[in-house]
Each structure stands twice: as C-alpha cells, then as structure tokens.
Symmetry: C2
Subunit: 471 residues, 2 copies
C-alpha cells in the first residue's frame, strides 16, 4: 500500500498528531540514539491504548510491517526501521504517564512510553525509585523489550526481577491484549505470560503498560576506586566484599587503564584520581549503598575498614584504594563510552561469563588479540559483580581507517571464545537486534530457535512485528 | 497398553531399580505429602537424564500419560497420579545430587530430584544457601514447577528470582532437551525459554537439572512478635520498617489469634509468648537478618529501637512487642498448619492481593463469612510483606462434619472477592493442580487460556504430561 493512502487513513482515524510523515520531523524516529538509521513508511503515534490496537489491526489487515519504538535508546537497532521504507514505526511517545503509584505496595503502573526519568521523578517524593541504573533515559516499554540491566544489577537485579506486570498488544487480527497489572508479588495462578515479552526486542508484542516494583532510595552511599593486586584477584575480592557487606554492595564497576585514559583525555572536567604516571592497569569502582542513616552504620567507615583489611592480609587482594566522592568516580565511569569514540573506531562488546571466570576469559581474549591485531587497544570496562564486561576495542584514529572485514573477524574471534569456550553470552544486557542477529543465528541452539520461532508465530502470525526473527 | 508389558519393557531398558510397580512400594508415589492420592500405572525411576529421555520417548510412542514427581510435597495435587491407574509416575528421586558448586559465582547446578535440604547441606560449608524458606523439603525440580515462595520472599524473592538456568525435557517424539545451564547473571542473547517451565506445574516439560543463585548465610538475626494497633495499620507499619531497615527485613509473618491458639493447643512444647488471657487479635513475626557482624550493627538493638519509635509516636502503629528467641516465634508460626488440622476441618487458602489492600480485603472476607457461616473460624496467617495470606478457615470438630457443598460455596465466596473485587490471586505460591484447576477455569482470562493452551501444545503435542491443562 502507498504511504499516502496510509497517511490519509491514519489522519482520518487519529488526527494530525497521530501520524508523522514529513521531513524533517520523521527523521528522529528513523535514527537510533547511538547506532543505526533507516527509512520509515511513516510514524504512527497512538494517543491511547485503544488507538494502538486500532493501528495494529490496520497493519494486520494491510500486511504492514511495524516497529515499536519507545525512546529509541537501544544499542542493537531493534527499534529503528530498516532501509526499505516499508516499515511503519509505531511510536509510544504519546503513551506516557504514571497511572498509579501505590506507596504501600511499593509499585507503580505507567504507560509504556513513560521515560525512566519520569517514573523516578514521580517516585522521588515517596523516597522510592526504579533502581535500574543506565547511561540513557529509555522508555519503560523499551526497558522491558531489552530486559535492561546496568550498573546496579548486583544489588537490585535487572528489569525482569523488578517487573510485576505488563499489558501487551499482540500483532494478530484482533490486536489481542494481554493484561496482568494487578501488582501482585506472589501469583502462581496460571502461566506467567508476561515473560514472553521480556528481552524479546519488541518482536512478540507491543508493550502498552508496565507495572513495576519500586525500591527505597538509599540515604547514604560510599565509594572507592580500588586497585586489585591483579585482575585474577577480582572474584575473591568480590567474594570477600559480599561476605562482609552483602546487603550494602551497590556496584562493582571495573575499568581498564586504557578506558580510564580515554575518558580523562576526552572529558577535561574529570578529576584524575591517580597521581601522574600512576594509572593502574585496572581499577574497580566499589560502591556501598544503604537506606540506613549514618548514625546507625557509617558506610564510609565500613568501606575504609574493609579495604584496609583486604590490603593488610598475607596475600593482599587490594594494592591500593582511593576513597573519594562517588560522583567523581561515576563521572569517570560514565565518560568512558564517549572517550573511546573520540579515540578512534570502537568495536563494542556486551559479553558476560560466569563471574568466577571473568579473569581467565579476559586474559585469554587479550592474548588472542595481541597476536592477531596488535594495533587494537583493549579498553574494557564492566560489571564485575555480575560477570558482564564491555570488552570494547579501539582502533586508534592515528592508525588510519579500520577495515570492516577486520571488525567482523574480531567480533567472531571474541564471541567464539566467549560463547563456545567459556559458556558466555554475546549479548549480556543489550538484547538482540539487527546489529547482532547474525550472532544469534551462529550460537543459538537449533532446538531453542525452533521453539522461539513457534512462539513468534503464536504471537505474530503474519510476522509483521519488530526487526528480529528468533526462529 | 497393559501395565505388565510396560513393566517388562522398563525392566529390560533400565533394570529392576528403574521401575516400581508392586504394592506396598508403589504407594508412596501415589499419595501426596499432605493432600491427594491416586493410582499409578507404574513408577519409572530414571537413573540418568538419558534414561529420563528414553522414558519420555517410550511414553510418546505408546501414548502413555506421565506425571513428573519430585518429593511430592506440593499442595495442589499436580504431582500425584489420578484414580485411573493409567498414568505413569516419572519419579526423579534417583536423579539427585549437586553437580557443580561455583563459590565465586555464588551458583549451584544440581539434578532436579535433589532436595532443598541437600542443596543447602552442600552450600553450607561455603556459608551459602538457597534462601527459599518452606515448611517442607521439596525437590528442586518441584520448586521450579510451583515457583515456590515461602516466608522470606520479602528479602530474597521466589524461585523465579533465584533461578539462573534449567535443563528441561519436552514430551515430544524426540524428548527434546532444552539446556541453559551456564550460570550467567546477565544474558539477553535470545528468548528466555526457561520461564515457560517456572510455575507451570510440570505440564510443559520435565525439569532435569537446575542452576540456581545462592546467597550468603546471615550471621545474625533478631526477631520480635509485634502487636499492631490495628490490622489496618499493617501496611504503614511495613512501610516504616522498610524505610528504616530495608536491607535487613527478613520476614513479616502475620498470625491471627485463632491461628496462634490452635498452634499452642496442639503443640504443648511451644512457649506461649503472651500472658494468660492476653492473646492479641493479630501478631506479626518481624525478623531482621544480616550478614554483618553484631559489632558492626546489632540487629536486636536496631529492632528494639525501631519498635520503640513505632509505639511512641502520636498515632502509634504498634501496641506492644515481645522480643525473644526467633526459634520460639518460628516454632509457633510453623505449628499453625498442624494445629488447625487438629482443631477441625480446614478450608485452606493461599490468596494474595496488593499488600496495600490486605487489611481492607481481610476485613471484607471476615465480614462476609460472619453473616453466612458463623460456625467457621477464621484462622489466617500469612506473609504481610508480600500480600500473601493463608486465609485458612476451620470448621470446628465439635460442630460435626462439614458438608462438602459448604466447602465449595465458601471457596467460591472467598475467591470471587479476592480475584474479582481486589484483583488478587487464588493461588499465590502453591501453583495450579487438580485441587484448584476449576478456579483457574473460573478466573483466567479466555485470551490467556488460549495462549497457554497453544504453549502447552508446543511443548507437549499429544497432551501426555502432567495433571494440568492450562488451555
């Protein structure tokens, strides 16, 4: 069907604000926050869940492909249209707002286009928050579709662990709506269908409403940059910290020297926590959080005490540590991605292995790269507490342009080791989209793919929805 | 097919220990731990996962119905055979043992027939445990099939939240095996198929291996029996406790006077924490847990301080509190079920509502019963921290026998209010089985049932597995 006829239909059905088709307005819907760009047939912007269902029914009747889009901050291209100009972007940017905030239940229900920052803004007066900690400001529906993790999974878990309910629209003839929004913490009275839509890249249904568990906002935090005696010591270091301060561990964010140097070179306002020439090979941002008041327990004191102990044993796990303002350390951590992009061509990774095997795996990857690609700089940083590592590589700008065949070969080398040798994941927290679907096909077990394909057909019989076919 | 032919085949395939068919040995497989009894065609006891798959293939080829059974401690009859004598019990009692304990990853992998107590026995030397706290000692596979909750969900979550991987056998021609046992904390590289088997009563597949997250064993605990100023004050009381001691809250177990009296009357070794004639209408076992040492923070002091504050404000939330040995309070709590059974005919419930609505819902249920069934005693107890209430009723032995039509009418009255008026669940943590499947049919949305039925057909095309058809 032609775009003009569709636009006329949509304007008739939903009014002028319900559809975007002209340049330049359409462009922001065609381009991802960081990666990926395509061309949309048009953008539908339903103002109610009823309108969303009408759009889905219309698309089903006309065999139109749909891409659900929230804030479009994903990193695998699953919410941006392809180049064909045949895909309708279904934007949830008008389906916004907190509909219910139940303080005694510690839950919130919101429309799927609501941004994380909006949810947290609404929860803040009650000293509550949705504790998924990210660099971006995604929509809640998008967070469900990627099962977002982030820097504080160690303490709070990922989206799946903090999700109590969903409302979802399937891409079938009736635009079937599944609803499970009661906000129950315990319910085993049937099949937990919402799990089908968690981390499935918007390809099984369009999330329209989300019911989440909120947590108490911490009243105090303490942070240190910890220099382990070796990278191999990190799992034992983590074990000791968990043994001595399990309830308070908020984050353990590892940063390689190359990653920190790139951040410091790029963002001149950052404070360098190290003396000139004394950049350690690896540092870990250790953060403790608590809702307790400092007169009940002082986290800075506890952290100082623990780090002292870790340095003073016969076989120390910690070489040195800087205590300081958490904001400074987090600013350093959050400047890494931009710093790496400024330094050259980034080959980004989002791998995970059992956290006990991170040092072994990382050493193996570094060694393999050294032989084959001596120009590539390993600038990794990651979530030591849950085995996630953004094993990012930089081809320095000074070394000229980086051939795309090199990038592909490097990806395959890294992923093959991570997945096949260490039983790890090629996508720990970014989900699956057009940018990495080829690796899904490479590593997913044929049995799993067959069932995933069956599930897709159940929810989306014509295969109209999303950019990912898990089959 | 006749049982004799089947038994000969099984003995040929798996040896004498692989099959049980004679009385009295077979009887323990035919009777549930607390409820339900039937008659099995025979009991297959695979010694390896390979044998388990052979049995499933055999059953598929011969159209034999199968009931997977772990420790058979479930409360809804999903793992006991029906009366037909045509169902094969597939017992996992030989598929036992911890296969991997990764201390630095804080994970364990075990065969599905492994008991919770065995897992915790293996984890204890590492100061770790699987923190699902229950009255029974279920198998790990059974815990997955019911998504067990228990008394410490508030702190640790349910089985789903602590499950990192599964191996499952589907009831298709090939006995397809799905495997996801890498022990990753972050993995979004495909569809999370294991969720299909969590809380689905063993009707979508037979769990053969389980990979779980373990937690640090607490080093200290403090407990009090807290008497709220009113039942309506409980949600605010919980909110204050969460605000002041969020990290340490281990359990909030509510107990009605009738429930405590029944426990005390039945179990003479229990210490009555109250003065004669001063039994409160409702009491809450509040427990704080921590891995911290008492010289870092003293939980008894913290709890005393908090309860004092809750009594001394202008509108107190707490009328009185007994501090004491946690074991004594837990013994009281754990004696309730037996105490109620000794007192008469129990009509048991496992309901949940948003925890903010528990008082309103409970008052409404009590009121409704008072009018229609004045002889029934409300003896409820439950998990105030997550909105679960075992709203158990006792028809006193002294009142003669209780008609089964009364029981059905009472169930319907309670469930209708809980589900339809309060958006609650008729099965919070016991799952769905033959004992409550009629309520699933009564309350589940037709759309959800249709999809659940499709999922069932995907996993079990001939409908051979389990006692529950979610369609």
């Amino acid at each position: 069907m032609s775009s003009i006829a569709l636009i006329r239909d949509f304007v008739k059905l939903f009014g002028e604000s319900g559809v975007v088709h002209a340049r330049p307005d359409i462009e922001k819907y065609e381009r991802g926050y960081r990666y990926g760009a395509g061309q949309a047939l048009a953008v539908a912007r339903p103002g109610t869940v009823g309108e969303l269902r009408s759009i889905v029914r219309y698309c089903y009747a006309h065999d139109l492909r749909m891409i659900a889009q929230g804030a479009n901050t994903g990193l695998v291209g699953a919410s941006t249209p392809d180049q064909s100009g045949a895909e309708l972007v279904v934007s949830l940017d008008r389906l916004r707002g907190i509909e219910d905030m139940d303080v005694h239940n510690r839950t919130a229900r919101a429309l799927a286009g609501t941004r994380l920052s909006e949810l947290n803004g609404g929860a803040a007066p009650h000293e509550l928050h949705y504790p998924i900690d990210l660099g971006a400001d995604p929509s809640l529906g998008g967070m469900v579709a990627t099962n977002t993790g982030g820097a504080r999974v160690l303490r709070y878990g990922d989206v799946q662990r903090n999700l109590l309910g969903l409302e979802v629209i399937l891409a079938d003839a009736d635009a079937t709506m599944l609803t499970d929004l009661q906000g129950l913490r315990k319910d085993n009275s049937g099949v937990d269908l919402k799990q089908l839509f968690v981390g499935t890249s918007g390809s099984f249904g369009i999330v329209s409403r989300v019911q989440v568990e909120l947590h108490r906002v911490p009243r105090q935090a303490a942070a240190a940059l910890v220099i382990p005696t070796s990278h191999a010591a990190i799992p034992e270091l983590l074990a000791v910290l968990e043994s001595e301060a399990a309830e308070f561990l908020g984050a353990l964010e590892g940063m390689s020297a190359n990653a920190m140097e790139a951040a410091l070179a790029h963002n001149r306002r950052l404070r360098n926590p190290f003396l000139p020439g004394e950049m350690p090979r690896y540092a870990i941002l250790v953060e403790l959080l608590s809702t307790l008041r400092p007169n009940q327990i002082d986290l800075s004191e506890l952290l100082t005490f623990l780090l002292g102990r870790l340095m003073d044993v016969r076989e120390p796990l910690v070489k040195d540590a800087c205590l300081g303002r958490g904001e400074d350390f987090w600013a350093l951590r959050h400047s890494i991605s931009d710093g790496l992009r400024a330094a050259g061509t980034v080959i980004g990774f989002d791998i995970s292995v059992p956290r006990s095997r991170v040092p072994e795996c990382r050493a193996d990857l570094v060694e393999a790269l050294r032989g084959h690609y001596p120009r590539l700089r390993v600038c990794d940083f990651g979530h030591c507490g849950d085995g996630g590592d953004h094993f990012n590589l930089v081809w320095p700008a000074a070394a000229g342009s980086c051939d795309s065949s090199v990038i592909e070969a490097v990806r395959e080398l890294i992923y093959d080791r991570v997945v096949r040798k260490y039983g790890g994941s090629f996508s720990a927290e970014h989900g699956v989209g057009p940018h990495n679907i080829s690796y899904y096909r490479r590593y997913a077990h044929p049995t799993d793919r067959a069932i995933a394909g069956d599930l897709k057909r159940l929810c989306d019989p014509k295969g109209l929805l999303g950019r990912v076919d898990f089959g």
